[in-house]
Symmetry: C2
Subunit: 174 residues, 2 copies
């Protein structure tokens, strides 16, 4: 399967995001099909809403989107769908923001078993996962005697694109 994006780097500001979403939905469907999981309508719609951008979205914002066309879903519907998607590594919880973001690498073991390793741009809001194997190794070395079960690693700052913009502005001020 050809990778249409380098999902471990920050998305270009003007990229065609439909591709990301469509691809994520397709992968989720394939994964559920393979594992005999029920990819129901609510679950699909919640995942689609999460994938509406690369920025984390809160449960109640998902709910609002879900009900935008006159729906009558209750918060529980969203939280149950999110529980399912979390359990199967299709989304990540962003603990530092109380929000959720799509997982670009579902099924790659790392994702939900050990937690998530995320870079969060405070300017554009985008979140990407990074390859945290070296980080996990460092954590394990730094915590001798501690039996690690899960890791929440959330790094905030400026993504390359926004950093460039910020610098330009700073220069313009001179």
């Amino acid at each position: 399967m050809a990778r249409t994006q380098q999902s471990r780097t920050f998305p270009q500001p003007g990229h065609n995001h439909d591709r990301c979403a469509v691809q994520a939905l397709a992968r989720a469907e394939a994964l559920c099909d393979a594992k005999r999981l029920r990819f129901t309508s609510v679950r699909r719609r919640v995942l689609a809403t999460v994938w509406a951008s690369h920025a984390p979205i809160g449960a109640y914002d998902i709910l609002a989107q879900l009900n935008a066309g006159g729906g009558r879903n209750a918060p529980m519907a969203v939280y149950r769908a999110l529980d399912f998607l979390l359990a199967h590594g299709l989304v990540h919880r962003v603990a530092s923001l109380n929000a959720f973001v799509g997982c670009a690498h579902p099924g790659e073991a790392h994702s939900h078993k050990l937690g998530s390793q995320l870079l969060i741009c405070r300017a554009c809001g985008s979140v990407v996962e990074f390859d945290g194997r070296a980080v996990s190794a460092a954590v394990a070395r730094a915590a001798p005697g501690f039996a690690i079960e899960s890791e929440v690693i959330e790094i905030s700052g400026l993504c390359p694109h926004c950093r460039r913009l910020t610098r330009r502005k700073a220069i313009a001020r001179d």
Copy 2:
């Protein structure tokens, strides 16, 4: 100043916790004194409550403690005190638990500027900071082009003491 505890290791199950609390309060007082900050009554009481154990405590549990003797504090009082304590590195927010824990190393630069690096025991609830310099370095290497501003690193699992207990039980079952 003599260190009465090795604050980067998990506290012994039966350790004399009063010492930890008293010491933490004393350090906070010293730090506020040095920086000309107002270590007010509410702030002191909130910090004392946070230091009532090594386990994170929620804002509303702090509030309950504060009002245990008939007080009439509102949530805002607690959150404002927590904001102050967070800003000056006297407590850490535990994002994955929506709770707060005392910082054993206030003033050591790492603490609040870059975020926190915590080990969380799911059995006894204790939290300790670990030396995450190597972890931070690994993160920096894993995120080229990303301008890191803060890190939330929260590792859950079993601390050495609880791991030992768990093993004993497992053996006893045989």
